[in-house]
């Protein structure tokens, strides 16, 4: 039995999240995860361990690791439970690492099924679990339908269709050697396969939500002096970290603080608003502001909603127009607030009316920050698991297509190339629904005039 991996606690934010692994390879994978080749824990003992990404050696989390030796475990197999901190990002990252280390994401009810196979459950427990699976698979089915209409399937389906079109001439050449088929265009096919491969890679990268989310995102607050940048900073932070006064230019240096929005680490930077100055200290602040702006993944441009737009405001808006940004229209709580941006920015621009003093508009602002990185509150609970499964499938597809490309370049016999293309197709098919041989044959017969 291969080793299956899944989150054992409900997904979403919590203090602790438990990742469970079951199968003959559980201990071997744990050794890789901890970077301890000799790790042989006493069964049932809880150990505090540092978890590192074995590929980059970066620390990921400190976690409690418990080993249950077969057959004395829930599934009857070797089981390792890793209790991490409850951030979805951390849990997802640890799961991703386990999948890379030859774990496989468990199907619905698979742990229970293994327990059942190994005689670990009695009938009434099994029935209870079956009902649970019914419920889960119904939910999964609903989700499958949503995905059928949704972005995931819509992105994968064209790739799959292109793959089928690539399979058709290869398969026909093999199968209908006596028919008068057009010669295969090897170079063209290679280009097409490279293209398809790029698409899969691109898609895999988006499912991973990019390195930004893994390493945390850098968000920098900018704007002219005295628009309330530091108040906004403090409000996002939840404590009075930056000094706030009525005096423009109070913040001379950049101030940084690590916060979490819905479990996603955000490195928040408050900057000096001054643009031009001869004061040597202020000049240093200006330099740092520039650097913080350049390094940021997202900019929050703060504008005072109670004042007319100044030349400096314009300059900030202008300079950030090509960047990923949200605009916070501050001081919504004060009299005289009106939208000075009307007609000054594009209609599609993310503009939020907020009051740093009262906190009004902040939930929307926080959501906008996450959405800018492709994370949405709305996709909620199942996001972690579903994503990891798709990501896993896409990465495996990528590996298959790479091998197919290599073989195609080496002019290997078609049956080898096709084996990998079919594997890729089958993996993508797990996202969109299977492609049967019948469909491929149908495509062949509609493409070529086959048959004596």
């Amino acid at each position: 039995m291969d080793t299956i991996v899944a989150l054992a606690t409900p997904s979403g934010r919590s203090a602790i999240g438990v990742i469970r692994m079951s199968g003959a390879g559980a201990l071997a994978i744990t050794r890789l995860l901890l970077g301890e080749a000799e790790f042989t824990p006493e069964p049932g003992k809880v150990l505090l361990k540092k978890i590192k990404d074995p590929l980059t050696n970066e620390p990921v989390d400190r976690a409690l690791v418990t080993y249950f030796q077969a057959p004395h475990s829930f599934t009857g197999e070797d089981v390792v439970e890793i209790s991490c901190h409850g951030s979805p990002l951390v849990l997802r990252r640890v799961t991703d690492i386990l999948l890379k280390l030859d774990g496989r994401l468990a199907g619905p009810g698979e742990f229970s099924l293994r327990a059942l196979s190994n005689g670990k459950l009695n009938l009434s427990q099994a029935e209870a679990i079956r009902d649970l699976i019914n419920a889960q698979t119904d939910a999964a089915a609903n989700q499958a339908i949503r995905q059928m209409n949704g972005e995931v399937s819509n992105s994968v389906r064209p790739i799959k269709e292109r793959l089928v079109r690539l399979i058709v001439p290869l398969e026909s050449a093999l199968e209908f050697v006596e028919d008068d088929l057009p010669a295969m265009q090897l170079e063209e096919m290679k280009r097409e396969l490279v293209d398809i491969l790029c698409e899969v890679t691109r898609l895999a990268a988006t499912f991973e939500s990019g390195h930004l989310l893994r390493d945390g995102v850098k968000v920098t607050i900018v704007g002219r002096p005295n628009v309330g940048k530091s108040s906004l900073f403090n409000r996002l932070l939840g404590i009075d970290r930056a000094i706030v006064t009525e005096i423009p230019g109070t913040t001379r240096d950049t101030v940084q603080e690590q916060i979490a929005i819905d479990g996603i680490p955000v490195l928040l930077t408050d900057t000096a608003g001054v643009r031009h100055s001869n004061d040597p200290i202020e000049m240093m602040g200006v330099e740092r502001t520039k650097r913080a702006m350049a390094e940021a993944d997202l900019l929050i441009v703060v504008v005072d909603g109670t004042a007319k737009l100044s030349a400096e405001d314009f300059e900030f808006l202008e300079r950030t127009s090509e960047r990923k940004r949200v605009i916070a229209l501050n001081k919504e709580d004060l009299p005289g607030f009106e939208d000075p941006l009307v007609g000054k920015v594009n209609g599609g621009e993310n503009v939020f009316r907020v009051a740093a003093k009262t906190g009004a508009g902040f939930p929307e602002l926080q959501q906008a920050i996450l959405e800018a990185f492709g994370v949405s509150y709305a996709s909620g609970d199942q996001l972690l698991i579903t994503d990891a499964r798709h990501y896993d499938l896409l990465c495996r597809t990528e590996a298959e297509l790479e091998r197919a490309l290599k073989l195609l370049s080496e002019r290997a016999s078609e049956e080898f190339i096709l084996t990998h293309l079919y594997n890729g197709l089958r993996l993508l098919g797990e996202i969109t629904g299977e492609t049967t041989t019948e469909e491929i044959l149908a495509k062949i017969f509609s493409t070529f005039c086959i048959g004596k």
Binding site: M1, D2, R104, G107, P108, G109, L113, L116, S117, G119, L123, A126, E127, I129, R130, D131, I133, N134, T137, D138, A140, A141, A144, E171, L174, E175, F176, V177, E178, D179, D180, R396, E410, S413, E414, E415, F416, L418, T419, N423, R426, T436, T437, I440, L441, A442, F445, C449, I450, G451, K452
Partner: protein, 626 residues
Amino acid sequence: MVFDEEFDVIVIGGGHAGCEAASAAARMGARTALVTLNLDLIGQMSCNPAIGGIAKGHLVREIDALGGIMGRIIDRTGIQFRLLNRSRGPAVQSPRAQADRSLYRQEMRRTLEATANLHLLQGSVVDLLLRNESVVGVEMEDTRCVGAKAVVVATGTFLNGLIHTGRRSYVAGRAGEPASIELGEALKRFGFQVGRLKTGTPPRLDGRTIDWGVFDPQPPDEEPVPFSFATERIEQRQINCFIGYTTRALHESIRANLQESPLYSGKIRGIGPRYCPSIEDKVVKFADKDRHQLFLEPEGLNTNEVYLNGFSTSLPPDLQRKLVQMIPGLEEAQIVRPGYAIEYDYVDPRELGPDLQTNRIRGLFHAGQINGTTGYEEAACQGLMAGINAAHFVNGHGSFRLSRAESYIGVVIDDVVTHGVDEPYRVFTSRAENRLALRYDNADSRLAPYGRELGLVGDMDWQRFNARRDRIALGQSALRSTVLRRSDATYAAVSSRLGCDLGDKVSLAQLSQRPNVSVRVIEELMPAEVRGRISKGDLECALADTLYAGYIGANETAMGRLHQHDALQIPVGTDYRHISGLSREMVERLERTRPLSFGQARRIRGLTAAALSILLVHMNMKEKIG
């Protein structure tokens, strides 16, 4: 019931399915009767005079390995052997042979007549005799009642056969032969779901009226590769086939006359095979194609008749002649038999278990075109399996099945009994998930042990099999153990011949994986004592094993985990309605196919992942509580 005569097994039909079924059942010890409408037409090739081709050749090799007869008969009567896909990997190579149609028939008849326990009966079966939902015999047109414990129906296109040429239609099983109407009606009366399919055949020409010089000769292989593992050499004289082409003007004429075609006038309801389109279909569906390829295939060594392969048509005969004469080289050609289309009944093969026995009537087996397949080889392999299972049934043994993973036969039968058919079903290598492992040259190692156990592989063949297996094993071990080192005298020669460095040492197995390393190179490097003991064919087989070994293993681990529960058995008579959580639609799909394993259930189209999970849990629970 009083019978005029009694047998263990009756096989209805003397075509490719019927012959294999009768031969196998008789040789397994069952007293067997083969009932056919015309004894002179046993083993008739109704369509093209050829056996094999990609995937089909694999089937014939598998039939032969199990102890079937098709391979031996084509080897004795084939007049043009070619191994297809020589430029590709051994897994997708496959033998094909043109047959002398008349010799094939004679040889088949001779073989059956020489089979102990086998009786040939001429006559027409009009009804099945039942007792308690089990078959007990058949009733003949001449009112004879013949008893049997098992019956194999292998009636080909004869069930309610209806031939079409132009605007004329007439009842027939093949051109010039009566159809089987009453038996078709009887099957419907028993409640079998019957559908309609269509196939067609091209005109046959008088070879003396063909301008042969216009066509490109297609020569036979210099070293013919036989179908049967028992055949040492091909004795028949080998001949050329010829390739020609249609023209745009001809396409225009066909399109102008479509109203004469029963295919396009709406007279034909049955669905034809996509991979055997009529010439009408070709010029309509691929209208932009300048020409279509045609093959002139001589029907035999002692006849002038030539089969115009690629020109299947149901246009009226006089029009066929005009159109044929528009083909360059056939301006003077005379048609000796016109082409025609034929519609016939098939019985939904989802009514069958994997042993080809009907669920409805115990002891009744269906094989060949009645199951919606097309092709002599597809028919023959089902006939063989039905014959084996009929004999087992008579003797009270369990059923004999082959899995998809070990054989194309398993793929064909699993496909049709699981999915049913909506057009004539043909085998393709792409239908086999395990195609790299299912080679024509290893069919014996995959299946001969079964054939031996069944009693179908005789002592001589078994000895031959064991000797070959040992020689291949010897070759394999020599490939692994023979190592070229930099210091060896031959190393430099090989390295310079291949134009690359081979590292400090390289085994022959590793060397053989490099591109441009021919069998000959490896053969020369083999130790002399091994080279003297194994043939080139043995070495090729050992090399093919080496070529795919790592590949198959790695791929199985990658993909296999998706299918780890496939072997779980689903008990016969499982009541799906009582499995809580299955929707009505899922219950219906499961009931139609009645899968016997989780793997088969998984392949049922339209069964959802949720339904499969529920089924799996249900099965696991059943297993636990016994």
